[in-house]
Amino acid sequence: MRSILPVLTVVAGILGFWLLAVIPMNMHLVADQAQRDGAVVTPDTPTARQDLSGVGLALKNVHLIPLTYDFQRPRLPAPQQVAGEMVDTIFGRSVTSKRSLVYHGWVTLAPTLLGFAIGTGLGILLAVGIVYSRVMDRSVMPWAIVSQTIPILALAPMVIVVLGSMGIQGLFPKSLIAAYLSFFPVVVGMVKGLRSPDAMQLDLLRTYNASKPQGFWNLRLPASVPYLFASLKIGISASLVGTIVAELPTGARAGFGARMLVGDQYGQPLVSWAALFAAALTAAALVGLFGLIERMTLKRMGMQAA
């Protein structure tokens, strides 16, 4: 909570920069349009204008600057345009409407959560395997790293087709891509966490002649909780990115990914930008939610949040 003022300051700084950048970014397009509409523009041919920078052009055509903030097809939309579009599509529509961002948010969120659950479960299982089995540790870990160097957008269509040919469609294929992206941070974090007990804590259990499962439940698992939460927070936003990536090859029907694509294809940058920001807000909200659960859990466990 103490962060509100600093965050607002930084956001204000970014908004200021953004507002300034709108002018040179859109100047050429605005000048072209203004000329078609009969305004006087210097220089007076698009090719000549092409040789000027956005700032240079703006200085020569100060009267056109206001137009850059209200352009229908901007390179860089002004902040208030994006905000307007978001307000309109989030609050201005019934949540069941295809034109509501809330509806698309849910379309994206559902596979995100499912994929996250799958990825986290898989990640934890793998981590347990890696911690308890030398063979898994030595053979699987390097390939887990390699798996993350594969460009997922290239793999996603094939995964979708293969699953589609098995009659699996809808939520699950997207979830699988989401799981693929979210399992890795969980594996890495949980391996670290499960290995975090020091030699003395392990020896203690040995003096009690505790079994492996007892060691897992009483020591390794609780010790890994802070690491788990750190990974969950990375994993959930990775999962969201995975779903959005998967929304293009599933036939770009609905969801944030589809909105971004279609907005881009049909010359509606505001649709894309609004979806983009909505996606980031969703991720931030999810991360915040896990932060909250983390704080509550660690408090109950007597460990302060890191």
């Binding site: 003022l5 965050v7 956001v11 053979s139 390097p142 160097t149 990115v241 971004m260 980031a280 931030a284």
Partner: protein
């Protein structure tokens, strides 16, 4: 059926060898450490080959590893050109720029608690912007060539490096800082002689995460507009042509390059942070 049975047999054999190697007396030797993952990978490849043959999977759905290897052999020049365009230009330039920007901002943010508190959450928000949304925007702004790819990469690697660097710069113990104070050391000596060295393990953490992101970013951004060369270009074009052997050849190159990039970072990390307990 024969192939399937053979596949299962190969799997069991590979696993058995690895169990012997990993638990055996020589398990800590360098060769065993390299051999175990290699055998694991080889097992997967062989099983993949056998399954593709056994189930007669169409090559336009999943090519056999042998086809992919053949393609790598026959298209070396193309793969190399794509590698140069995507990795050496897009990914590397973006990585260096992103890392440099992250350092600069981290050091700036670090000068004031206020800025740190403001920048980290906003940075987290920016990092959550999905690449499929940002890539078209950068292509629109910076054109189709590698510059826009470098920008995408820069933005992607920026945040993890920033967060880790900020955390690292904060990681000095009170005693280490007090020591500097007793010497009446100024800001810069403290930065260079204490805080940067002690932040190095964190910084490398961010740099390592950045390596895989850089590759993925550069490749994926090419899907949204590119010249007629590049790994992402080739993947998307070949996929449209159903030349899946080429798609997988590029994926193999990407994985190799990514692992090598990561490995190089690990080596540098070992050299620079040799003093850290995790490296001893």
């Amino acid at each position: 059926m024969m192939y399937v049975a053979l596949g299962i047999a190969v799997w069991i054999l590979g696993w058995w060898i690895n169990v012997r190697l990993a638990n055996g007396a020589a398990s800590d030797t360098v060769s065993a450490r390299v051999a175990v993952p290699l055998i694991f990978g080889l097992t997967i490849v062989v099983v993949w080959e056998l399954m593709v043959r056994g189930f007669e999977v169409s090559p336009v759905i999943l090519p056999a590893p042998t086809d992919v290897i053949e393609r790598i052999g026959s298209s070396g020049a193309t793969l190399w050109a794509d590698f140069r365009q995507t990795i050496l230009k897009g990914a590397l330039v973006g990585y260096v720029l992103g890392a440099a920007a992250a350092f600069a901002v981290a050091i700036l943010a670090d000068r004031s608690e206020f800025l740190t508190r403001g920048i980290l959450p906003v940075g987290g928000f920016m990092a959550a912007l999905p690449i499929v949304g940002t890539a078209p925007i950068f292509v629109k702004w910076l054109g189709s060539d590698w510059e826009s790819k470098a920008a995408v990469v820069g933005v992607m690697v920026f945040f993890p490096i920033l967060v880790n660097t900020v955390a690292g710069l904060k990681d000095t113990s009170a005693m280490q800082r007090d020591l500097m104070r007793t010497y009446a050391a100024g800001y810069w000596p403290t930065l260079f002689k204490l805080r940067l060295p002690s932040a190095a393990p964190f910084i490398f953490n961010g740099l390592k995460i950045g390596t895989t992101l850089a590759l993925i970013g550069a490749i994926v951004a090419e899907f949204f507009g590119s010249p007629t060369v590049g790994m992402g270009f080739r993947i998307s074009t070949s996929f449209g042509q159903l030349a899946l052997d080429m798609v997988w050849a590029e994926i193999v190159v990407a994985a190799l390059a990514g692992s090598a990039f990561y490995g190089i970072m690990v080596l540098i990390e070992k050299r620079v942070t040799f003093w850290h307990p995790s490296q001893r």
